[in-house]
């Protein structure tokens, strides 16, 4: 009896050890599958023309050719791409947070007729794919004279049902006492929004802003449609310019250009990954 128990105990220990080792092995393997293409991209961006085409592949180039980056930077107006991306991303992000907070506050904290019905309408717009509006929006922008302008890239996308929904939930979770106290002090709704509501839900605002940063930095279809000169293009579309010059530029240059495009978003991602992963895990974010 005692003997069999000790055997089964050691069996359990071995079993746990095996499953733990398998678990690590699988996760390491998965991390490699996911990381390898990225490593390959970095490695290629520093290679010489010859090394790019070698097989078996060169994992680490003999010499790190920084001039690949210099070459790309001069082959296309990358400063312009950067300026355009930074301006449109930040302007869009700030406006969307402000507009979202305003509407969310109204829905969460003020009583007015048809409020819940109106909120349902807002939620219903989440079901419409943005692609539906592409062609008519283009025509609207042409009539406004907004083609090839920053406002043309930014404005049509600064209001999202998603942001309104997210912030409304957050505002609803704030205890009413805080607002009552502020009311006693004579604060109006605007002061409550700026002084109480927003500071109380700062983590949610930060998460929202991070997702907006990623989404707007990576925006592709709309900026492609509304801009038509290279000096108005944003980074992701600027990458196309390097791709099109395939005859004169090699894969090492395309990879260097891609890294220039994704570097800011990757830096932001790693600095704020905790908040982003929690945001994803909350399941509130569209894939």
């Amino acid at each position: 009896m005692l003997a069999s128990k000790s055997i089964s105990h050691s069996q359990v220990v071995i079993q746990r050890l095996v499953s733990r080792v398998t678990s690590h092995a699988v996760l390491i393997f998965a991390s490699i599958i996911i990381g390898l293409p990225f490593f390959w991209m970095i490695s290629t961006s520093f290679k010489s023309d010859v090394e790019v085409g070698l097989f078996p592949p060169v994992w680490i180039p003999a010499e790190l050719l920084w001039e690949n980056y210099a070459r790309v930077w001069t082959a296309a107006p990358f400063e312009m791409f950067y300026i355009n991306s930074v301006i449109t991303t930040l302007a869009g992000l700030i406006l969307e947070v402000i507009i979202g907070a305003m509407s969310a506050y109204a829905f969460a904290r003020i009583e007015f007729p048809h409020r819940d019905a109106l909120f349902l309408v807002v939620l219903a717009t989440m079901m419409i794919p943005g692609e539906m509006a592409l062609v008519p929006n283009y025509l609207t922008l042409r009539n406004l004279g907004w083609i090839n302008t920053y406002q043309g890239i930014v404005i049509p996308y600064v209001s999202s049902a998603f942001g309104c929904f997210l912030l409304r939930q957050a505002f609803l979770s704030i205890p009413q006492d805080l607002f009552d106290a502020a009311r006693m002090d004579g604060a109006g709704h605007l002061r409550m929004l700026v002084g109480i509501a927003l500071p109380m839900v700062r983590p949610v605002v930060a998460t929202f802003a991070l997702f907006l940063f990623i989404a707007k930095w990576n925006a592709y279809l709309w900026p492609l449609i509304v801009t038509n000169t290279w000096n108005m293009r944003t980074l992701p579309i600027g990458l196309m310019m390097v791709r099109e010059a395939e005859g004169t530029l090699g894969w090492q240059h395309v990879m260097a250009a891609s890294l220039l495009v994704l570097l800011p978003v990757l830096v932001v991602f790693f600095l704020a990954q905790r908040q982003i992963i929690e945001g994803i895990a909350r399941g509130a974010v569209k894939g």
């Binding site: 996760l27 390959w40 109204a106 790693f270």
Partner: protein, 293 residues
Amino acid sequence: MHTRFPNKFLPYILLSPSIVIVLIFFVVPSLQSIQQSVYRSNISGTRQIFVGLRNYEQLFSTPEYLNSLQVTALFALFVVGVGLALSLFIALVANQRYAGFTIYRTLLIWPYALSPNIAGVIWGLMLEPTIGMLTNAVGFVGIHLNWRGDAASALLFIAMAATWKMLGYNIIFFLAGIQGLPREILEASEVDGANQWTKFWKITFPLLSPTTFFLFIMNTLYAFFEGFGLIHVTTSGGPGYATDLMVYKLYRDGFIAMNTGFAAAQSVVLLLIVASLTFLQFRYAGRHVYYGG
């Protein structure tokens, strides 16, 4: 109970920026697209002619559109099927609670921040017909991939790039789902002597259905809508029309060929797809998916 201080005008002032923008750039244009889909321009583009459902009839009898539907279906099938199966498998084997888990989480999920066009460029290099690392590796076992010239390779290429970008996201969700399962039930099944296979199909998989269903919807939407940048920067829908996803075809018809009625009809088809997925989500999630409790 919340007492919200009523106010006559302020709520509308606060709501007005969102309402104005949503109306001008979302609701009205979407309705216009629906209207456009039953009209056709004359050759000079000066007059709109009502054609009823003829744009739709033409759409579903044009080989290029049917091809686009087929390509999108195959693409989605790969992204959802292979993506979910692979990530569920990894999550099941990796299911352990330990300190290092957050490191893996970071290592797995970072491609989430990547735009699909970068994923396209990276995999375009991995699978480059002559020098691609992966092309050469599978070349040894007699598989020849050439996404620039061969239709099947091209579709496989974009599907792999898209799946890769979502893989970590899916794994994280499955891991969270598995770790949230009631332990007593899983342990009870072990006492009953169920083997791993039975345990998975009879217990883990059904219990995990909310996560699986959520990921199914997310990945399907992703496959239908996020492929544009990936295609535009690599295959441009080719070779031939081998990677002509529905969003890409919509873009070509609406902005290159300037066939607005035709493009509008296509956007209505996309609306129907999203609407039915959302409907499914509410209905199915409400009734049949098991939510732990």
